[in-house]
Symmetry: C2
Subunit: 168 residues, 2 copies
């Protein structure tokens, strides 16, 4: 999965600005994809050069101009090619588990603290995903909702596992 495919997928739903795309990625995609302005804007320019998207400048009053991007026929073809390509294996990068792995080199109190913080962090992620789900759900397909629900349940399971191991 390339960032280009992700952006095409988002634009395949409807025309949006780079700002909108980043917002979507930071909220409902947060549990399975990562992206920022520094990665999304250049990708949009690249897709425009390749003719996969088109840009329309929207002049606004009291706000900066918007670049509204729309997917082209060629972009749709590219996206469909992605959808039919083999699914790549998941990649997880967890600094938390790396610390835990090396737990013997830290005082026990500190490890306990790290675990508590990770539980708190995940509890907050559940809350955020749930509230984001409420915000977006009207416009979501059943698959998209499923995807959110899997995220919420995954976080909850992780929390349970950590709590179970908390007292050794």
């Amino acid at each position: 999965m390339k960032t280009e495919d992700v952006v095409l997928g988002i634009l395949n739903e409807k025309s949006q600005t780079g700002y909108d795309i980043v917002e979507k990625i930071k909220t409902i995609f947060s549990h399975f994809f990562d992206g920022s302005y520094g990665s999304i804007y250049p990708v949009l320019h690249k897709l425009e050069n390749k003719g996969k998207v088109t840009k329309k400048i929207i002049v606004q009053e009291g706000k900066p101009n918007k670049n509204l991007y729309s997917i082209t026929e060629s972009g749709r073809e590219e996206f469909n090619k992605y959808l039919r390509s083999p699914v790549q294996t998941e990649v997880m990068k967890s600094d938390f588990l790396m610390r835990l792995y090396h737990g013997e080199y830290l005082p026990e109190e500190q490890i306990k603290q790290i675990i508590i913080e990770e539980i708190n962090r995940k509890e907050q992620l559940v809350e955020e995903l749930e509230s984001q789900f409420e915000v977006w759900k009207e416009d979501m397909s059943s698959y998209q909702k499923l995807c959110c629900q899997i995220g919420i349940e995954s976080y909850r399971s992780e929390i349970e596992i950590l709590k179970k191991f908390q007292g050794h």
Copy 2:
């Protein structure tokens, strides 16, 4: 968490070759870190130039020479600095969830197939982690074992979640 810190952490346990380090990453670190020869060998050279590790060439009969790397005092300091730095948030990249999100653009049969394949993949990951755990557990601290167990349980929970949602 930088790859340099990860390599220092592995060498902090004992002196090893680049090959050994990659093997460890590909087996017991697989659920929380990703690395390959193309990333680990250059990092080892970089750490050597910085004086964080030293290299000893071991001549073998019937096998290629080995470069045995050991952590230096300066490397230990660096590693301890990492251990005491703030824990970075986890990052997950899941092509599977991306496909599921766009499920409406694929035939239902294909989505079902993708879910089945993901369940199979994760069942295999559980098996692999369990067998790796058996291989390495003699040399593992209780924290390292905990880390493996969390991986196994996380995969199992993911499988349960997917099975639950399988029939919609």
